[in-house]
């Protein structure tokens, strides 16, 4: 047991937690911003995959990290906008449209991978990667230094993004509009806000976050693209954001909880602890947290309205 504790509470362990959390923080912010605008976005899975692929291909053919980054982010925005177009303009249900787009991403990336590079499951050519770097002052702090310093630059961008999310959401007019639209679209409309446009912007920004997460996966975490490499992170992001109440710091903590558990299962897999069960804990916890949140939100509203009033159902109502 003491060796277990030693290996878990080691510098390497916490370093790994930050590394594993990075591709969860980005999409979780994407889920959070769409949730703030009143939509559940389960399409981050596909957005990440498309961006991971675009980044690798562009980096192989242009050998420019900057172009790869721009192309990846552009593909994410495009995908987010496409989801918005189908949901807002063509009146598709956003859940079903996102499922379809996830399928599309999964098929299209492999289809193009085979057609462009000939590789069946992974890109044979190695992609450029985002650099890692040490932070001068931070590095020399005893225990914290080796944990916080020396990461891939995208890990720092992820933490910065949490701050950006906070600023956009709570300190800018756009953030105010997004929250207004999410809380009460009719009221927002009545003061002249273009509800559909605001929701579209939220989806496009979530595309940026998702793209950064995908780019980190294929061009930082590893240096190639492989089949379905996002591996459910877009769905975990839904859990992480939900757990954090879609707030900036909460979403960060939610993502890091999943990062922590995923890292721990790697560490304990050699020991006699059922790692499968350990891995299921954060998902179960999310269900419980979600149930408590909604029970709390539900109770006062029910009393006020005098009857069971389901805002969620109204959101899903068929549009004429």
């Amino acid at each position: 047991m003491s060796t277990l504790l030693e290996s878990i509470f080691s510098v390497e362990f916490f370093f790994a937690v930050l590394r594993v959390s990075t591709p969860l923080i980005f999409p979780a912010l994407g889920v959070a911003i769409t949730a703030m605008s009143g939509n559940i976005n389960i399409g981050l899975e596909g957005i990440m995959l498309i961006a991971a692929f675009t980044g690798v291909i562009v980096s192989i053919y242009t050998e420019s990290l900057m172009l790869a980054l721009l192309a990846g982010v552009a593909s994410g925005i495009f995908f987010g906008a496409a989801l918005g177009y189908f949901h807002l303009k063509l009146k598709a249900d956003i859940i079903l449209a996102a499922v379809a787009l996830n399928f599309l991403a999964s098929g299209l990336t492999i289809f193009l991978l085979i057609v462009i590079t000939g590789g069946r499951n992974t890109s044979a050519l190695r992609s450029l990667t985002f650099p890692s770097f040490h932070i001068p002052v931070l590095r020399s702090i005893p225990v914290l230094g080796p944990i916080l310093s020396g990461h891939n630059i995208m890990t720092y961008v992820a933490f910065l993004s949490v701050f950006v999310y906070y600023v956009v959401m709570f300190k800018t007019p756009l953030g105010l509009r997004i929250r207004a639209v999410g809380q009460n679209p009719d009221a927002a409309r009545s003061v002249g806000i273009n509800v559909d446009r605001v929701k579209l912007y939220a989806l496009m920004i979530s595309g940026v976050f998702g793209a950064l997460g995908g780019l980190y996966l294929s061009m930082g975490y590893v240096s190639w693209f492989s089949r379905d490499m996002v591996a459910g992170r877009g769905f975990i992001a839904v859990a992480a954001a939900t757990m954090g109440g879609n707030l900036s710091f909460g979403t960060l903590l939610g993502s890091m909880l999943f990062g922590l558990v995923n890292t721990a299962t790697i560490y304990i897999s050699s020991l006699d602890i059922p790692s499968d069960l350990v891995q299921s804990i954060p998902y179960l916890a999310t269900v419980i947290v979600l149930a408590i949140y909604s029970a709390r939100n539900f109770a006062p509203r029910k009393r006020k309205a005098g009857s069971a009033h389901h805002p969620e159902n109204e959101h899903h109502e068929k549009k004429p």
Binding site: L90, F103, G107, D276, V287, P311
Partner: protein, 353 residues
């Protein structure tokens, strides 16, 4: 003609979406293949080329009929319970555990296994169902989470208690023969599960369109407010659709094990739950059309396999087409202007006459 189009507009829309999907597919093949003509004919006619390929269409369709019909029930009530994947997986694991630890004659064993797996699947569906009905917790998120829980719990159960260590890889013990659904066509893997799937589909059709509860389910889907003011117990409806969806999808998972694999060999979520979403959409959430949609999906998949074997076009072409098709079908406003114009024209013609 116009009247016919208007009356069946949903079917027309679906047909056009499928047509556009197939058109995209032909275009993509022309773009990437060195001999497009051959590739197109391999894709379109390859699935009918031998008894084996025709059989695989139905082998692929069988589990998807279960999940597709299951999801149709939830979707008809506008409950976006996307947890068929998890229910399918964990019920197969639990059902396998039950099947390998019991032994009795097949005419008791098979119904009992189906009963156990149906019950377990129903309970699994009840979790998001109760939370949605009672607290309005989003069934989308809870179902997504429970898919992961199903995966890890299923792995834990099989790998720790029912793992066949004599087999070289991570699989469960083989099912006893009394628990196998036998294959009834020589040299194919078509098994009695396909008949069960059809029975379930017909029952679901009857239930949704010819019973009082079915009517209530559809009313809740069309207009929950109206349903509530009309005296329908929405709580009960939400609970029922989740239980049924979990039960049918779960039973499908166990049937797949009993008919095809004969032991639990999934180390990851197998994907039939998501395929169920596809066929529920293409079949417009009508259980009988879902059967046709599942066979269509089986046809596409076998066509894709033929492409992979015999041409230079990747299998993934199929994933691209199927997502294009369901995107167009879910888009409610797709072709709605055309419909509106026809309605106006029809109305003005009637006014003139």
């Amino acid at each position: 003609m116009q009247q016919f189009l208007l009356k069946n507009f949903d079917a027309v829309r679906t047909a056009i979406a499928i047509l556009i999907g197939m058109l995209i597919c032909v275009l993509l093949i022309i773009l990437v293949s060195s001999s497009p003509g051959d590739s197109i004919s391999i894709f379109l006619f390859g699935p009918f080329s031998s008894q084996r390929t025709i059989a695989s269409i139905f082998e692929i369709a069988t589990p998807i009929i279960f999940t597709g019909v299951a999801l149709s029930i939830a979707f008809q009530a506008e409950q976006f319970y996307i947890g068929a994947e998890g229910a399918f997986y964990i019920t197969a694991a639990v059902g396998t555990a039950f099947a390998v630890s019991t032994s009795m004659p097949w005419f008791f064993h098979i119904p009992l296994i189906l009963l156990v797996s149906g019950t377990f699947g129903g309970l699994w569906g009840l979790i998001p169902g109760y939370l949605k009905a009672r607290f309005n917790t989003s069934e989308v998120v809870t179902a997504l989470m429970l898919n992961f829980v199903a995966l890890y719990a299923g792995l834990y159960l099989i790998n720790n208690f029912f793992r066949d260590r004599a087999a070289g890889f991570m699989v469960s013990f083989r099912l006893p023969e009394s628990a196998e659904l036998s294959r009834f066509i020589d040299r194919t893997r078509i098994h009695w599960g396909v008949v069960l799937a059809l029975v379930v589909a017909v029952w679901a059709y009857y239930f949704l369109y010819h019973t009082r509860t079915g009517y209530e389910i559809r009313t809740v889907g069309h207009n929950p407010k109206f349903a509530r003011f009309g005296g329908i117990n929405v709580f009960k409806v939400i609970i029922i659709v989740h239980i049924l969806t979990g039960a049918i999808a779960g039973m499908g998972g166990m049937v797949e094990i009993m008919g095809i694999h004969r032991r639990f060999n999934w180390q990851d979520l197998p994907g039939q739950g998501w395929d169920g979403v596809i066929v529920a959409i293409i079949g417009r959430m009508h259980p009988l059309y879902v059967v046709a949609a599942a066979i269509f999906l089986g046809y596409l998949r076998v066509g894709g396999q033929q492409l992979r074997l015999m041409s230079d076009v990747p299998f993934e072409l199929v994933l691209v087409i199927q997502s294009a098709i369901i995107l167009l079908i879910t888009a409610r406003a797709f072709l709605s202007q055309w419909e509106a114009r026809m309605v106006i024209r029809q109305a003005s013609e009637e006014a003139e006459s």
